[in-house]
Amino acid sequence: MVQYARTPFDASFAALSDATRRGVLEQLVRADASITDLADKFHMTLTGMKKHVVVLEQAGLVTTEKLGRVRTCKLGLSRLEEEAAWIERYRQLWDARFDELEKVIEDLKHKETINGRKRK
């Protein structure tokens, strides 16, 4: 089954939830391969394999490059994509921190209001 996901995390896990796609990654660890090679190896139609590769690509686990009529798949991200993925992970880290910080600020504001009232 081919699924598309919203966040990088979802995308990675959705991509890895499928046995064929894990097989494709294992294959690419050994050597780069064309979509045709991969379709043959996994006894699939070219269209079916293309869909799997798109999912892996969206999750940033695979990059593809078209040379002439052949699309070659390899592991990993291009440098720009790698940077974008890192920035998104870093953003998520700070976003998680700032969500907690927002709670601390609410608490401090609340305490200040109460103390303010007491003083009067």
Binding site: L75, A85, R89, Q92, W94, L101
Partner: protein, 169 residues
Amino acid sequence: MDARGSEPTNRTKVERKSERELVITRTFNGPARIVFEAWTKPELLKLWWAPKSTGMSLISCEADVRAGGRYRFEVGREGSKAMAFFGRYVEVIPHSRLVWTNEESDDGAVTTVTFEDKGGKTLLVMHELYPSKEALDASIAGMEGGMPETFAQLDALLVTLGASVGRVP
């Protein structure tokens, strides 16, 4: 609760502003005075710096927030050894500006945080200046600065699949 809490301006933004700079911004629902306090009291820093959702836990948190004072945060992460973040405060201007060094790596950034009052809200801008383009690139490649737990698990899975660590995200 802020009824418009979901408006996009409230979200955390991260941008690579130049070859050497990262800029993180967020608007908080409170005056700069209070936001600044939450950044400068260790007992408050502890409450938000290592959120559970990231798989981190804070082992220790010391911060002597004055120019020349040192800080040290130790963070544990499930399944990996503790990491320390440490450095020195360079500039401390109450309610408006903090500058510190990041000395856990040789090529660490200098971080400047500014707190700007915007009618009861605070615009927070965090600016990380690396000594060189290479230093920021290396930081990105090495995923310093915190990798969410889920990615650690994903990496572990890819390693068991036999992928070389250097080639996977």
